[in-house]
């Protein structure tokens, strides 16, 4: 049994990448009311592309410790490219339609991306060969934490702060919050909703791909990771509350730490515990900790 601090740090690390994906999920749901099942697929894409980028970077003879720069860059770039394509190409056709149809469309995207990944990268797991350890480990309060993990946690915190800033202090953020509150607001205020939708969806996608990119130095990429992640992301959203950024943060922390605890204490019950908690939260407080609105 690992020390509690190790578990905690590991949990926070999981939570960081989970937060990014969940935040992407939340912002898209908040504005467009689309629950994007494909957020996990974007995460997976980010991971796969991340591996390619890291490997080429190292093979290209560049200084290895700098791998994190192109990694983040790739994660961002990928999202900026895919986001608008998926939004304009598919998602925009189902705005205003029944929520269940929107869900099904995102499911279709999941299926397609699954095979795109298979086509490009095959089905065997891939890793970066432990490149994250290049930063070494740190001894913090008696726990040994890979420095890379800390970097990722820091990145997520920065992004969380950025998101908070955008939401609270910029015009774009105000628009997001207004439309999340009342859908017709945006149009009523004469704002070009089309651009808003594209931007928001792209933001959500970028968060997803970035999350995937950041996680791969520390884990292996497997072809099912996108499909598995959605359930965790859903757990985060349920616990934190659908549509709430604060909820994504707290929910991610909760799920990340829970996952970590479960892995080291009762590995058999890892996912089981999470699902049970999801169901329990849904029964006791369906809006989650910070969510609002009808369920």
């Amino acid at each position: 049994m690992e020390s509690i601090l190790n578990i905690l740090f590991s949990g926070v690390f999981h939570a960081s990448t989970l937060f990014l994906v969940a935040a992407g999920l939340q912002v898209v749901f908040g504005v467009q009311k689309v629950f994007n099942l494909a957020c996990g697929s974007f995460y997976a894409l980010g991971a796969y592309v991340g591996i390619v980028v890291v490997k080429s970077f190292v093979a290209g003879g560049f200084p290895t410790p700098l791998f994190i720069v192109p990694l983040i860059g790739a994660g961002l770039l990928l999202g900026f490219i895919i986001g608008p394509i998926v939004e304009r190409g598919l998602i925009k056709f189902v705005y205003g339609r029944d929520e269940t149809f929107q869900l099904l469309l995102t499911f279709a995207i999941v299926m397609m991306i699954e095979d795109v990944i298979k086509f490009i990268w095959g089905t065997s797991p891939q890793t970066t060969g432990g490149i994250d350890l290049i930063y070494g480990r740190l001894n913090l309060f008696g726990a040994t934490v890979p420095v890379y993990n800390l970097i990722v946690i820091l990145c997520s915190l920065i992004i969380a702060a950025l998101i908070g800033y955008i939401l609270l202090s910029t015009k774009f953020g105000r628009i997001i919050r207004a439309t999340a509150e009342k859908k017709e607001m945006g149009e009523a205020l004469g704002i070009n909703m089309k651009m808003v939708y594209i931007k928001v969806f792209t933001l959500g996608t970028v968060l997803g791909t970035l999350g995937g990119a950041l996680v791969i130095p520390a884990t292996a990429v497997v072809s099912e990771m996108g499909v598995e992640l959605i359930v965790l992301a859903f757990a985060v959203v349920v616990i934190g509350g659908l549509g709430s950024m604060k909820g994504a943060f707290i929910g991610a922390l909760a799920v990340g730490v829970l996952k970590s605890i479960a892995i080291s204490t009762f590995p058999e019950l890892e996912m089981l515990t999470i699902y049970i908690i999801v169901i329990a939260v849904l029964m006791i407080k369906p809006q989650g900790l910070f969510g609002g609105g009808k369920v």
């Binding site: 629950f35 099904l104 299926m111 058999e268 996912m271 089981l272």
Partner: protein, 323 residues
Amino acid sequence: MMSLKSTKAFILIVIGLLLLGFPLVASQYVSYLMLTFFAYAIMVLGLNLLFGYTGLLSFGHAFFMAVGAYTAAFLTGKFSILCMEVIIVIAVIISSALAALIGLVCVRYIKIYFAMLTLAFGMLFYSFLLKFYYLTGGDEGMRVLQPHLLGFNLSEIPKMQFLTGNYYFYCFFIFVLLVFVMWKIVSSPFGLCLKAIRDNPEKAEYLGINVKRYRWYAFIISGAYAAIGGVLLGSAIGHVDPGLTYWTHSGTLVFMTLLGGFGNFFGPLIGGAVYIFLQDKVMSLTTYWRFIFGAILAFLVIVAPGGIAGVISSLVKKEKSIE
């Protein structure tokens, strides 16, 4: 010119006869595929009651199918209960009980939350099946031994012949029976209330319909249907594994329902048949069938949400207005 009603009846009888005579003309492989069709058709009939008629999209329908399938595996493998009828009845009892419990939780929610809750339950079962591998065989699954049909032990017959012969007809008759029962349900006052709940739950409430309770009933019936489908499928394949309850398998069931046309009685049956045979065809051409099917689903959602049945009925309407 025959009336619409007798045309429909005529078509049904012809299809029924075709299905009955299928094994005599088609190859063993195709007949085997038809077996899976019967099983899936029963499952989507149940899903359609929930989704098409009551308006609740479940992403965990495969859960009940897996319950049925694993029941068959347990009963035949661990308890040596080989009587098919008993297996089916027990599977229905177990899945109905589970549906009643899970339904109590789920029907309080609608739309996305309902979909995701059912997804969560399905995945809960998945992890359960994986983790308790000493009980369930883990990701290798369990075998389903060949059951006795109507009391007859037919294990001397070669497997493929059994499947495409005796078992085929058995499944066919169960299928027809269940279609008939579902038809009764859907055209009953209960069915009308379900449709009302789908169209406008608030108004239904005002007309004295206990919306939550009726959704619960629909949930239980759909679960029972899925379980029967699971028993038939498991017995046909001879093997069950946790993948049966993975959420994407539930997604497949929804896909089939949508493909054929949800809310339409025969839609899902058409959808099931098309999906199974199309998948078989596409899989033989490329391993990237998921991409193609994903694209089909996207197309369906965006352009033709009424599915195949929707397209057919709008064509029929066009013809009628031309006349």
